[in-house]
């Protein structure tokens, strides 16, 4: 997918006329705007783009894009998209899903799409709650979270979506934030350019049922303290000028966060998302098991691996001759 300098299309070309139905202040609005704003860059005609979504507030996304769209059933987005990608290699296919949709009911389809490296881009809107069903714990809700379904606190430990994806051999894994239009665009760009499956986790605020879940990364004073921005080829350092911190290779082999001042240069991690071995990317994902402190955002992994079914002949309808020959295959005999 080549991105072009002077896009043929404008944001308006990607805005459907369906009335958006999210709650006031929902992070989904920002994501929608960012995606619609980014689309023209692809230089792909809207009719060659498909958004497939599951069920949830996030799932409504596909109605608002003026592309082809399929609002599927809960958790099956990646599977529906796998079918579409298998059937059509001429489309730009995007999946929009939520943390419940992708990681609870749909967890299996997600990890299988990732291992197969199906050519689809998966946008995971993670608000750490079930929005559409009005506020139950999700697989990314923190342990002890009190919700309608867990009045005494959830007793499940949450998934770290980036770790899970890396464990499933994902070839592209990134993370961004609803509030950061520019950063989101960067990730969308990289995901679109990736030949196989790209998973982009987007931290999304749900003001109604889980407001402020990402304040540690979004509100002005904390953002600078906690956002660990992964920049290709750069040392992994973060924090305000007066108190810069660095991510270094610790003694035992784990990554550690230390004051930049006191850090041993040679041990500071330099970010390289293209390493074949996902171990370091995984280690980075473990810096924060939950986005309540210093948390990496950006592209964790971006490597090449054969794309699903690139090695088989393209889908086609057999010719009349082929059909004729096929029917007459095997031992035949003729009765006069």
């Amino acid at each position: 997918m080549s991105t072009v300098e002077n896009p043929k299309y404008t944001k308006a070309d990607f805005q459907s006329d369906a009335e958006t139905r999210w709650c006031p202040g929902c992070g989904d609005y920002a994501i929608l705007a960012a995606v619609q704003g980014f689309m023209p860059e692809l230089g792909i005609p809207p009719e060659n783009i498909v958004f497939v979504s599951g069920i949830g507030c996030a799932g409504r996304f596909s109605y608002y894009m003026d592309t082809y769209g399929m609002h599927g059933i809960h958790g099956r987005g990646p599977a529906l998209a796998t079918g579409l990608a298998t059937a059509r290699d001429d489309l730009s296919i995007w999946v929009v899903t939520g943390d419940g949709d992708a990681l609870s009911i749909g967890g299996n389809h997600l990890i299988h799409a990732l291992r197969r490296n199906v050519p689809v881009k998966i946008l995971l809107f993670n608000n750490q709650i079930y929005g559409l069903t009005k506020g139950q714990a999700s697989p990314t809700s923190e342990r002890g979270k009190v919700t309608k379904s867990t009045p005494f606190g959830s007793s499940d430990a949450p998934f770290n979506p980036v770790s899970l994806a890396l464990g499933a051999d994902a070839t592209f894994v990134g993370r961004t934030i609803d509030r950061d239009k520019k950063h989101m665009a960067e990730l969308l760009r990289a995901a679109a350019a990736h030949p196989g499956t790209a998973l982009v986790e987007i931290y999304q605020n749900c003001p109604v049922f889980n407001d402020g879940a990402f304040d540690a990364l979004t509100d002005k004073d904390h953002a600078v303290l906690n956002q660990i921005r992964l920049v290709e080829g750069q040392p992994v350092v973060f924090g305000p000028q007066e108190a810069r911190r660095a991510v270094v290779h610790g003694a035992g082999g784990d990554l550690e966060i230390v004051d930049l001042a006191s850090a041993d240069e040679s041990r500071i991690v330099t970010h390289d998302s293209t390493r074949e071995n996902p171990a370091l990317a995984f280690a980075l994902s473990r810096l924060a098991s939950h986005p309540d402190g210093p948390t990496p955002i950006g592209i964790f992994r971006d490597v090449q691996r054969p794309v699903y079914q690139d090695d088989v002949p393209p889908p086609a309808a057999p010719s009349a001759q082929d059909l004729h020959a096929l029917l007459r295959g095997g031992d035949t005999w003729t009765v006069a």
Partner: protein, 618 residues
């Protein structure tokens, strides 16, 4: 064995014969059966075959659980079933004998491998005493053939042939022997062997030697005093034939639909017995453009098919019972999206995991009513191995024409059993036209994806078509626009439209066969067709009067069905379930349809149908 000319043999002419090959899973009985079938088909008999695999992967060698059998019924006239009672049983070991003896009637012939009846083997098979010694086989015409020794003798001479190779060609010895017994030409089998083992000449040589040894043993040994000929069938319509099982024809029917419609075929499937074979078969056609995906589960398999359909392809998914349960929700989505999709259920026996290697028709009501909400779906059922081709093609045709998921019902019996199939000319098949919407609406009006034609089929615009971008999903849709609608009256109208569309599908009237003066109608569906026809034929031969009819469309039902049912005093409906179709017909037509129900994991047999008919002669 004596190599000098044997004694002159009697020859008898029979109209029909049933032969059953039985041995250990490792003995290659399926192959022997296949080859005998090929020779018999080429010879010009009509035939039907049925393999009978052990339920276990590979139970310990020599045990009952490990016995594998293959039955062929061939005749000088058209036949309808793989037969019930064998005339000849080939038993390669004691377990094979013990597992199959119950099928044999007194006076029938048993050819057994004498060498295999060692003390250990006899015990392993679960016999107290050696059946060859306790007279328990007196009622049968038993031929003890030292197959192992003879095969050994025949091949040991050859260059670089191991005892193991010899062991492995025992089945071919049996094939040779039975070929002589029924006067089948050897050349076809020999040619096949030589081609199959082209890369391993000594194996080929060993097998050919064993084949000939079997033949000449028949020719020369006193043991075998009679040769049987079954004249070629004369009532066979002219044409080119091949011997096919229902799995192959189902695959061919789908590929034909793909070719004729111009829609590339995409199969999403997850392995399950007995449906896996269809996945295997279609996977081999990748070079023709068929795409198969072995999904992570049946939910994904169905979703993959539906995703492909959304992309403007022929999306197909295949499975058996437990897998159907899992596809339910996705099929419901397809109903709402009104996209073409073919779902194939190769039925197996029992609820839950049940009896994976036995046959049944227990999924009909699930296909008709197994989804939440009002969710109508056309259902097509195949009736014979050959007819699976038409049925699969018809399912695809309806799916595309009416933009709807269609369920095709076959079963384990159809999938595995085979019969000669007259190869159709693709050009004679009804056309399938996707009728994609390709033109964008005029500037000032909008595309209405849920506007419909006279068949109530909605407009199908696929990704890549400029100006027709639209969004569809599982929430109730507004008429015409397909936008989300929570309006009650709209929901009522859409429910009505979905029902009317399926109810309005054109299906051919049901045809009645048999005696005009009959007061009893035997109605069937699915794989019981052969048994019902044969049973009726036999009943007539013994003076019964009966009419038969068979349904290939279970939803909607043929328009004339109600009148047909009402025009008989009694309607008998044999099913391999507890009366599922009977209940549907009783509800719809208020006719007292009588159910003949068998759930023994086996196909229906002609004799039981014959008896049921004769018992109901008024």
């Amino acid at each position: 064995m004596s190599t000098v000319e044997g004694p002159p043999k009697r020859t008898e002419v029979h109209e029909r014969v049933v032969v059953r090959f039985a041995g250990d899973s490792g003995d290659g009985m399926q192959l022997a059966g296949d080859r005998f079938t090929a020779a018999t088909a080429a010879f010009g008999n009509d035939l039907a075959t049925l393999p009978d695999f052990p339920a276990e992967i590979r139970a310990p060698a020599g045990t009952i659980g490990g016995v594998s059998a293959f039955q062929i019924h061939f005749a000088a006239r058209d036949i309808l079933t793989p037969g019930d009672k064998p005339n000849v049983l080939i038993a390669m070991n004691p377990a094979a004998l013990r597992a199959n003896i119950a099928l044999m009637e007194r006076g029938t012939t048993i050819l057994l491998n004498e060498d295999a009846f060692t003390v250990r083997a006899v015990q392993k098979a679960g016999y107290e005493v050696n059946p060859l010694e306790d007279g328990s086989l007196d009622a049968f015409n038993v031929k003890r053939v030292p197959m192992t020794t003879l095969t050994q003798a025949a091949v040991e001479a050859l260059e670089g042939v191991t005892t193991r190779d010899a062991q492995k060609s025992r089945n071919v010895f049996a094939l040779g022997l039975i070929s002589w017994l029924y006067d089948r030409p050897l050349d076809i089998s020999q040619a096949w062997i030589e081609q199959k083992f082209a890369k391993k000449p000594q194996i080929a040589a060993a097998n050919v030697a064993a084949l000939k040894a079997g033949w000449s043993f028949g020719e020369t040994s006193e043991l075998i005093d009679v040769q049987v000929t079954v004249p070629a069938a004369t009532d066979v319509p002219p044409g080119t034939y091949r011997n096919v099982n229902g799995t192959t024809t189902t695959a061919l029917g789908l590929v034909a639909a793909s070719s004729r419609s111009g829609l590339p075929l995409v199969l999403g499937a997850y392995p399950i017995t007995p449906a896996s074979e269809l996945l295997h078969e279609l996977s081999r056609h990748a070079k023709l453009g068929v795409r198969t995906v072995q999904a992570e589960d049946e939910i994904a398999a169905a979703s993959i098919a539906l995703g492909a359909s959304f992309g403007g392809r022929l999306g197909v998914t295949s499975t058996s019972g437990p897998g159907m349960d899992l596809k339910t929700e996705t099929i419901g989505l397809a109903v709402m999206l009104e996209l073409p999709m073919v779902i194939i259920d190769v039925q197996r026996a029992g609820p839950s995991t049940g009896l994976p290697t036995k046959t049944e028709q227990g999924d009909l009501l699930q296909e008709l009513y197994g989804r939440h909400g009002e969710s109508p779906i056309p259902v097509v059922a195949a009736s014979t191995p050959g007819q699976c081709f038409e049925a699969a093609y018809e399912a695809a045709r309806i799916a595309v024409r009416y933009r709807t998921p269609v369920i095709l019902l076959t079963d384990l019996f159809l999938a595995n059993s085979s019969e000669p199939w007259k190869i159709p000319d693709p050009d004679d098949l009804p056309p399938i036209d996707p009728r994609f919407r390709t033109t964008a609406p005029a500037d000032d009006d909008v595309f209405l994806p849920y506007s419909r034609d006279d068949d109530l089929a909605r407009q199908w615009a696929v990704p890549g078509t400029p100006g027709l971008q639209h969004r569809i999903g599982g929430l109730e849709k507004a008429e015409l626009t397909g936008a989300i609608s929570y309006e009650g009256p709209n929901h009522a109208r859409m429910t009505e439209v979905r029902n009317a569309k399926v109810a309005g599908i054109e299906v051919p009237d049901v045809e009645v066969h048999g005696d005009d003066d009959a007061t009893l109608l035997v109605l069937g569906w699915g794989s019981s067709r052969g048994a019902i026809r044969a049973g009726a034929r036999r009943a007539r031969e013994s003076g019964g009067r009966v009419a038969t009819a068979h349904l290939h469309h279970l939803n909607p039902l043929p328009a004339n069905l109600g009148d047909v049912l009402r025009s008989y005093d009694r309607v008998l409906l044999p099913e391999m379930n507890c009366g599922q179709l009977a209940m549907v017909l009783r509800a719809k037509y208020l006719v007292d349809v009588e159910s003949y129900s068998r759930v023994e994991g086996r196909p229906l047999f002609a004799p039981e149908i014959e008896q049921a008919i004769l018992e109901r002669q008024s």
